[in-house]
């Protein structure tokens, strides 16, 4: 049973437009959420995170929104660039869980077209 769900396997966006990647979770004990980005033939790299005590965190073109009541978070990329084309993983940490046991979603493949 997936605790972190990324229901869109892929997303295609035009360069310069907004990309919105969604993530839903089922475990109310999650207290920290992260987004990782993965290029082909490379390992995932940390992109942005948000604590459950916040509802928004911004870093340049990347903003993560958290809606705890809906158990939903989203990653916004504005403006989208071709170099943003990658697989994006949503991940969550359970408060009190074993160190490093991030629960990952299956990922969403973003394609930004020039």
């Amino acid at each position: 049973d997936q605790q972190v769900k990324q229901n869109s396997p892929s997303l295609s966006v035009q360069e310069g437009r907004i990309s919105i990647l969604n993530c839903d979770y089922t475990n109310s004990m999650f207290d920290y959420f992260l987004w990782y980005k993965k290029y082909p033939a490379e390992g995932p790299t940390f992109l942005i995170s948000i604590s459950s005590i916040k509802d928004k965190n911004e870093d340049g073109r990347f903003t993560v929104f958290l809606n705890k009541s809906a158990k939903h978070l989203s990653l916004h990329i504005v403006p989208s660039q071709p170099g943003d084309s990658a697989v994006y993983f949503c991940a969550a940490r359970q408060y009190g869980g074993s160190q490093g046991n991030l629960i990952f979603g299956k990922g969403t493949k973003l394609s930004v077209k020039p």
């Binding site: 992260l34 490379e42 390992g43 940390f46 995170s49 160190q99 490093g100 046991n101 991030l102 299956k106």
Partner: protein, 117 residues
């Protein structure tokens, strides 16, 4: 540049033949992890080392073992690989201090793609 290095990039083994995957890090992080990622699936934590302390996830098969001889190196041993063990194996590190809030920012290697024939 400080980094997490996994070797080899691709590994082919035969059904039942033991195989070892290696990971090294120059970040001097005290925690090292092994994740398994099957095709189109989410990465799944197998186990991790917090310094020398080994922490096995409850659902990690006994077929999977790990060794961490020193801070820099960690190995994943698959004693008798089955066809279902074919996957990408990701090593990751993080720096954790007791009593300090951690953001679980993991640094990943490029992974080893394991094929079992």
């Amino acid at each position: 540049d400080a980094m997490v290095i996994q070797n080899p990039r691709y590994q082919v083994t035969q059904f039942g033949k033991p195989v070892t995957l290696s990971c090294s890090q120059t970040l001097n992080h005290n925690v090292m992890y092994w994740y398994q990622q099957k095709s189109s699936q989410a990465p799944k934590l197998l186990f991790h080392y917090y310094d020398k302390d080994f922490n096995n996830e409850a659902d990690t098969p006994d077929n999977f073992q790990s060794r961490r001889p020193n801070t820099s190196f960690c190995f994943l041993d698959i004693r008798s690989p089955g066809l279902g063990d074919a996957a990408m194996y990701l090593c990751a590190t993080s720096s954790f201090q007791t009593g300090v809030s951690t953001n679980e920012k993991l640094f990943f290697g490029s992974g080893t793609q394991l094929s079992v024939l």
